[in-house]
Amino acid sequence: MILVLILVVPMSGALFLGLWGHKRFASAVNILFSLVTFALTLLLAIRVDTQGPLIALDENLFVDSLSSLFLVITGGVAATTSFFSLRYMTIEGEHGHLTPERTRLYLALYQLFVLTMIVVLASNNLGLLWVALEGATLATVLLVGWTRTPAAIKASWKYFILCGVGIAQALFGTILLYFASEKTLGPGGTALLLTHLLTVKTQLEPTVISLAFVFFVVGYGTKVGLVPLHNWLPDAHAEGPTPISAVLSGLLLNVALYAILRVKILADGALHSPMPSDLLMGFGFVSVLLASISMWKRQDIKRLFAYSSIEHMGLATLAFGIGGPLATFAGLLHMTTHSLVKSAIFFAVGHIVQTSGSQKIPSIREIAARTPGLSRALLTGGLAITGLPPFALFASELLIMAEAIKRIPYAVPFLLLALFITFGVLIFRILEMSGGETATPEISPSRSHSRLTFFPIWIHLGMALLLGTFFPAPLYEIYQKAILSLGVSIGG
Amino acid sequence: MALIPTFPSFGWTISLLQMLFVIFLAPLLYGWIGVVRAILQNRRPAGLLQPWRNILRLLRKETILPEGHSYLFLFVPPLFFFIMAGASLLIPFLMVSPPLAPVADAVTLVGLFSLARFAMAAAAMDLGTPFGDMGGRREMMVAFLTEPATLMILFTVSLWSGSTAIPSILHSFSLGHSPFHPSLLIAAMAFILVFLGENARLPIDNPSTHLELTMIHEAMLLEYSGPLLALMEWGSMQKLLLYLLLGIDFFAPLGISRGLSPLSLLVGLVALLGKLFVLGAGIALIESIFAKLRIFRIPEFTALAYLLSTLGFLLHFVLEV
């Protein structure tokens, strides 16, 4: 019941805002819907934690600990982003970039986007999962090009085409998977249902599954932004409105990686070979390296953090490739914290860009003098994202490195070097922007930001701190259950 | 094979008949194409016998030899004619296994045809006139571009028999495979393209004009006159017929006689004439529909032929094994 409700809320939100999104109160309604969705995901997670996995709608929906974990992250970040959107849109409106029609489009698509991500996470049917993930692309494609500048349209076109091509490969993978499972499960609806597939995963034909897995990784990997399929990601993040950058980075990438993880369980079961793990490790390793090198000369602040997202998704992918309970735990923790911290950073960046009127790092100066709050937030976020203690990314990166030394010792020096470069570049850039020479002669004391502006940022960073220092025991149990549903046996 | 003729001499008679058939029927086929073309273009046809009349007229004329010619120039027309006449012994069309069966390999045929083409181009270049030179070069370019397609078609067809020997190809088709195979259909399309290219037909070359910018085949014959020209023209007509016969063997072998009984030979002959009748009309239709390609578009045309033949070849493995 709650499982159906969790779909109905954003769906009705999209409908409502599609009809009345141009009204003055619409942004508040958006927050309301997002909060209700978030509350439902929390309820759902508690329900799953106490009563076990839920199934609904003719077995098409299925939520276990793994998906409920991601559902909570999605609901939470979507809710705080809706707060941020309110502020962001108000300021955009003051700058005159906004018409009521565009607000309506933005709000309706935002709810639609949340809906598609929830469908991906709650879907038991791998075919529907594909449909929803493609739907997520379609919902965000217009959001990325929302500002209608030439660069934005170019970015959204690139996003559309590359993700469309990528996701087509994943559909071919789905067809191959159906082909393999149909032999044991029989034709019809059940052959694509995860719950059924899990019971027969050892009987699936290895050749077909290995080919299918490659197509899945290439397809969904495009959406995760794994190098060399990452080309769309920096553009889409840099040119879209900042709230969208935040949810793309913090949620969509996660959800796509979640889809890969689901398929990997099946591939591991069918193959008895390290191929799926090796493939993920390879993609992850290359992503971390290339992303950190690409960050070196970025002049655009949003682009800089987009590459940082590629790097972190690469690290998480690498962790899942390494496998085993510790690395898998580290991977999940890494994804969670990355969502929180990266969206917080994008919130801060959004305000910075709005106050300084440019995304170019050289023309952003003296944030510390103008808005000390923003400067503090950005610096804290920067420290968190580069994996310094006491934030949780430190723990997860440490765990990943420790496991990597066991499995792929020769790669560790390169990984450390990459992390080091990222750290240096990011901190250097942030300090450069906070202080530095005046680019604009007179510093206009910017309007005082209300406390409301900063609270989403601090909530996120606080959560990251909490996860990094004092890890609540019930939460740890949820993570353990999630690891179990990823097919990793604990204690090995 | 129980159908091997018991009296070798009978087989040789058939071979001789094949040669005569090609030599004497080729101009008629040419005339038939001309008639259909004329009708399709609302002109009054010149009649079926017009090519014959042309040949006889040329044979009666005196030969004018251009300045600076060598023996090559005199030597090539008869060579060309006899290569074509000889090739007619290698293509079985009146019966499945002619006595020259061991030699009757499709690759041998392709070799013979390229030898003839080479001789012709060499003779055209012998005089050093610009047109002959240009025609020779263009002819060799077209040949070089169609050759891979031709070979791929041969291979596709021979996939059924496991051999490029034409009698065994024919034999494997008569074993009850249906003639309707995707790979063969596509190879047949490629064959039509190759046929048009190799015989200097319309989208590649216009056989009925002497427009210097576009002509290929005719440019090579410009300096010839009288009986030598007759031999060249006659040889080309034979070549056209031979290609059609080859295509019939590969893609529409139904009805060809497998023994020596007069009835089956007669049925085979009638079927053959019927097919040639239809094919001639088809060629005329193609030539009326399509405009001539610019020279630099020819590689695209031949690339298409190569593409089709290779696709046919590949599709055989996924669809028909």
Binding site: N60, N125, G127, L128, W130, V131, E134, G135, L138, V141, L142, R148, T149, P150, A151, I153, K154, A155, S156, W157, F160, I161, G164, V165, A168, L171, F172, T174, I175, L176, Y178, F179, E182, P187, G188, L192, T207, V208, D235, A238, R298, D300, R303 | F180, P182, S183, L185, I186, E300, A303, L304, L307, T310, L311, L314, L315, F317, V318, L319, E320
Partner: protein, 224 residues
């Protein structure tokens, strides 16, 4: 019993229609005119319908008739109609600009075909549909559309490549498993339809912003 007796070869009609579909993919690669490109796309839809019908008849799978009917309505009538209207409304005419010349693209396409046939050979071995040989053809068509998207510069051609890909995927699903479950098939079709509309919106935005559909202009937009 040899494996080839266990699985009869693909029936000639099914095989021929599949081959024709592959040829139409090549034709899309070779086309130079925008209008003929859309026409070839419609033709491909017709071939897809016929091919689905032939598989339905050969395999006696009644639900494939619905798929065929659906394909006819959606890919032969609706999408080409929308595309033609789009071309008309936006006054798009003229030649498709190519990055690679046509013969080179063709040869690259042949390599793609060889690659996909080799890749799908072990899968066809395992299939027991009447059209199992065509799985490789589906994969080849998929990658050919992909090739078309890489080698063509105009926005409209990229869209046609995208739609061609979807055709190829549908074709693969039919031939490997007699189609996906109905829910999934409808969902995919819905996505494609929405995608086409989004493309339509895009075209207007692109024209407003760049006054051209050549992606060259977009490439010249500074992004950093």
């Amino acid at each position: 019993m040899t494996p080839s007796l266990l699985h009869p070869p693909t029936s000639p009609l099914v095989g021929f229609l599949g081959s024709a579909l592959l040829l139409s993919s090549f034709a899309m690669l070779a086309m130079r005119r925008m209008g003929s490109l859309v026409r070839i796309f419609a033709l491909q839809g017709i071939l897809l319908t016929l091919s689905t019908l032939s598989v339905a008849l050969a395999a006696k799978e009644p639900h494939l008739f619905f798929s065929a009917l659906f394909t006819l309505a959606f890919k032969v009538l609706l999408l080409p109609f929308l595309l033609f209207r789009l071309l008309e409304r936006l006054h798009i005419r003229g030649e498709v600009e190519v990055l690679l010349n046509v013969p080179t693209t063709m040869v690259a396409g042949l390599f793609v075909v060889v690659f996909s046939f080799a890749l799908s050979a072990p899968i066809s071995e395992m299939a027991n549909t009447v059209s199992r040989g065509l799985i490789g053809v589906g994969l080849a068509a998929l990658l050919l559309s992909f090739l078309m998207m890489i080698t063509r510069r105009k926005a409209v051609t990229q869209v046609l490549g995208f739609l061609g890909m979807e055709n190829a995927l549908f074709f693969s699903a039919i031939n490997a498993t007699y189609g996906m479950p109905m829910v999934v098939e409808l969902g995919v079709a819905f996505d494609v339809l929405v995608g086409t509309f989004v493309f339509g919106i895009f075209f207007f935005q692109i024209r407003e912003t760049f006054e051209s559909f050549d992606l060259k202009h977009m490439d010249n937009t500074p992004t950093e």
